[in-house]
Amino acid sequence: MSVEAGMVGTTARTSGPAPGGPGLSLTPPDEGGGSGTTLLANVVAAAVDPLEIAASLETFGLSNAAVQKRFSYDDVFGLAQELYTMAEFQPAPAAKRRRVRPGGPLDLGRGIIFAAPTLMFTGAALALRSSLSWWTVPLALICGWAFSQGVSYVGFSRDSWGEPPGAAVVWALLAALISTAALGLAGDSLLGGRFSGVVFAAASCGFMTAAAELVVHGEERIIGALLLPGAIGSLVFVTRVPFALPVVATVALSAVSVVATVFAALRHLPARWWRLPVLSPADLPTAVRYFATGLCCGFFVGLFIVLEPAKAGPHSWPAAAAYPMILSLGAMEWQLRSLRAAASDASFRANSVREFTRRVRKRLARSTFSYLVVLTVMTAAVQVLAHYRGVVVPAPLLAAGTCLALAFYFALVVSSCGRMELVLGAWLTGLTTLGVWALLARVVHPPWRLPNANFAFLIAASVSATFLALAARRAVVNPFSHA
């Protein structure tokens, strides 16, 4: 959609962030724009006012003097008025609208790229398990998720204004590394651990931040390529196929992937990289919201690691309950895109808000069902695989994983409608539920019993998912969400 509303040309430049209109009709005759006569005829047929015709006549040299001399009119406005009155009104069809790409198999590929880091870090975490404390991976997830959300918002926001989106990356990386390391060191002294855990957390966080920068630049393929060493190393380490990979080699391969990703992100540094990115006053709270949402997401996914006791031995499977969600990221993206495309299409076809609402709600239900089917299949597959490996995944945790996956799906829908505050509200509601449970656990004594932590997580995830489902149902039918 064209968003130019301000003046253009000699006196002003106040056009909006994403001009989509064709602008001035100056296409030369031999480039498909038609001859001058054709262009003028189009304007005359579709003009909204005689003055619009006068404006075009002048650009073709029919100034006042020329009109008086060649056509004996008093002025160019007289000729324009006559053309306006005489010509048959023929509204020009709107230029082909920019179609929103529906989801497809390509999104499954993107899903694999987004799932690959999990694989890589699972292998690395297993290899380093004797060096990592229980809080290390959750800390990496919380910080990494938060900074990656912040970086991507700032990047996309700057990009929409035609400014280099990479300005934030160096500061975000520094902040990510320093804050994660500081929190890691604090964790070491308060909860116990080793320095290698701090390095692991900082590296993971740095990787996620750098990867977010590459996503802003549409370089998912590069992320995929750079992840290959770490992902393959981890896969070989975990499966011992075709050989048993030493711990050092596994960690080294993951480190290669991390360092390469950070360097790839630093390619996008602008010339004056030391300058802090300029955000408009209204952008700053939104960036903070994205950051806070990242914190919440990292916290919830980190819970899988905290709550599921890792089994000792090579066959352990940390956070197995989170795998259905991670493996269905591609399907999530596919369904989200299809929903957005359908909603955009409905906004062009519907001649009433009611009809638009009906169409979009129907499509939301369909997309949700499709995703749920994929999620169910993935959950079953993970359960079978866990059984085969002799790993028991607690049922409440698996159910919590399903709820959280649905919550993530709805969160994507709601945030794509520009309602980040609702997403944050949903996560905070979930966190509050957990907080209440933690508080009650301290004050409730036998014979009263509270559900265990896994159940509490399930309840919290359900609350967030329900909140987000209702928010999605509401946000998606707002026509401005698809403008």
Binding site: T10, T11, A94, P479
Partner: protein, 518 residues
Amino acid sequence: MNITLITEGTYPHHMGGVSVWCDQLLDHIPDHRFDILAISGSGDEKNVWEMPANVGQVTTVPLWAAVPSRRASRELRNRFAPVQERFFKSLSIENLGSGFVESLQELAEFARAGELTAAMSSKDAVAMLMAGAPNCQGRQSPQEHEALSVADAVDILVRLEHSLRPLAIAPPETDLCHTTANGLGTLPALAAKWANGTPFLLTEHGVYLRELYLAHPPGSTSQLARSTVLRFFKLLIETAYRYADIVAPVCRYNGLWEVANGTQQSRIRPVHNGVDPQAFPVATTEPAVPTLVFVGRIDPLKDIETLLRAFAEVRAELPDARLRLFGPTPEGGEAYFEHCVQLSTDLGLADGAATFEGKISPPAQAYHAGHVVVLTSISEGLPYVVLEAMASGRPVIATDVGGVAEAVGDAGLLVPPKDPSAVAAACVKLLSDKRKRKALGRAARSRVVQHFDVKHCFGTYLGLYEELAQNDRETIDLRELVEVVVPEERVPSYRRGALQGSSLRVRPGRLLKPGVLG
């Protein structure tokens, strides 16, 4: 005198002709204090001009800055519904603009309360617009009546909501509002006029409406959305012409458009732009090879394509000729620049014959770099490029648009716009005729010194300021009269605050203007 200078998308955030004019104005009228009110895009723009000492406050009103997401409460939606209905009704062709001014004033109340964005971005606003879409086209389609889609309604509401954002600022409390263009920049000036009776001077460089039509050609969006948005702008522009105390176009040609949009001839006072002849010394030498120079933004309004095509024809006659293009590519114009570079390659000019050389400082160097200065714009006011080239003693070949003919007179060659062959013929003629070139150069310099001296230009503005201040003082006596004869309940709500405020800033005499009291 305290003057609020209102710009849109130009000074102090961008370079260009209007910004040069603003800089000159501030520089040449040092005894008055200016506050700058700049309507901008994102609000992140940096000042690219050094502020003179007589500039006080600089306020930016971004049209496209993100605003914190605000939901419209049911109460707000209910309160806004009749206002929206009246506003869109006033856009209808049949109403001939009746109620438009009152609607703007009502919308301003919502804007100042920070409620307009939320109110215009609600589902109810879309539904209401779809149910009662105004007829903004004077002609009916022979086909079945076209219905507004949800996307069209959203498109209209989004554009209008952003366009109305200048209403959110409090009316400037100043002695005079001076806008550098018609359009959105007039909204604060109109608000000050309605609230405080502040005198309003409207300078017009390019014709806002003409360029607006060119920027939104048929097919750029759906016909219904286009006609509604353009109707809003047309009514706004007519309103500004109606309420401006003086309309000062930079050329007489603009005056024709102003009259066509309802401005009284008696209020039109053309004031030509001016340049400092000392800053543009006469070029004493010429380059070794026949060289054409273009100076200006790489922008579709400059029609660089015609220039390149014309130059290709010149090269057929004069194979060693060069074309040097000096000037920046504005933000958002990168695609057009790439298009021009590609066209240059396609025309076989990429061998160094046509070169894009960017900004040059001081600009006089650019004019000295060629034999002839060429301008192929399709829309202009009174372009500085032409005046500066003439001051430098260079002959000018320019398209006959806007006030170009007034500037060039008989000291250059005029050609029709979008006609590469005519441009090429004029170029070949001057490049091959040294005597003619010299004669036109001398005449050009003399014409600028005589008619387009910067001192004369801003001396005239100083006179206009004093005239408006004088008129304003004369109306003060009417204040007491109005306070006596207008009962409190007849004073519109948006005016009550002003009446209760400092009486020195209130000039109720202006309340007697039709349409304000309803």
